[in-house]
Amino acid sequence: MRIELKKFGTTLISRQSGKEAFSAFQSTMALVKSDEVVEIDFNGVITFSPSWGDEFLTPLSNHFGDRLILLSTSNPSVKITVKLLEDINKRLFRNKT
């Protein structure tokens, strides 16, 4: 499954909207098969921040573990946020280049 983050908005900033996005994703999440890979697509996102990321990516990572894969992006706000979340959670995300 591929999650296109732009469907949640192009400015992914606040903790509150990150929580809302994760809540909205719950019903889709239940459809993911136990061996299925979940890819995060940042394409089309203009701004991404740690508050939003911590409410959406961190619980997804907790749930899917190594089955969660971040697709590559040149967006600097995504890159710095992902690195910070890795440092906070002491766990690296899997990346697909």
């Binding site: 921040s49 967006n75 706000s77």
Partner: protein, 239 residues
Amino acid sequence: MEEKLLTITEAAEILGVSLDTLRRWDKNGKLVAIRKEGGVHRYYRQSDLDLFESDLIKIALDWTIEESELPSMFYCENSAVFQTRLVKMQNAMIKSGLSENILPLIIAVAGEIGNNSFDHNLGKWPDSPGVFFGFDVVKRQVVLADRGLGILSTLGRVRTELKTHTEAVKVAFTEIVSGRAPEERGNGLKFVRRVVAGNPVSLFFRSGDAELRLKKDNNELFITRSQINTRGCFAIIEY
């Protein structure tokens, strides 16, 4: 050609303040009105209003220090208004041609600082809730301020050993605070530091009597004590 003069009512609408506030600002010299010869009514030039609105730092400081009335265009009373204006700033920056290497970082940094104000003060604002949020795409400057509890008071709930504003500001910008209770901490200011350390962005940040300066492309933290003890947090981002 002589510039058309605006009435006090028109000026109040443009600035988003009351007539009484404009009269008070005229008396104390903050925004002096024009009087036609022999007349008693106050008039304003559009260019004077533009000049007044362009001094983001002064307007923000007057609000945080003296609690003067804030022009509505700068006031975000809740986080929904703040998110809307962040997107407005993002659109203005796109229109100004700002590079996509820096644009998302400025929006994210402003977002983290502004959202911190709401996340840590919700239901606990000492008086005026909300944040001041102003930006100038020509000067390449963003100013944010709140009249909240400040870093020492909010971070002190999870780090009880912190005693001074300078210690608290240092921890906020450098240490990953893992304690999630009694309130969630976003570690957003660490993000801000990382952005500034590797990019052409600089930050001035004040909370209580602590002043922090982060300089562009520099990982060093410059923290000093100020003569002024500001309420809440005050930030200037330049890029």
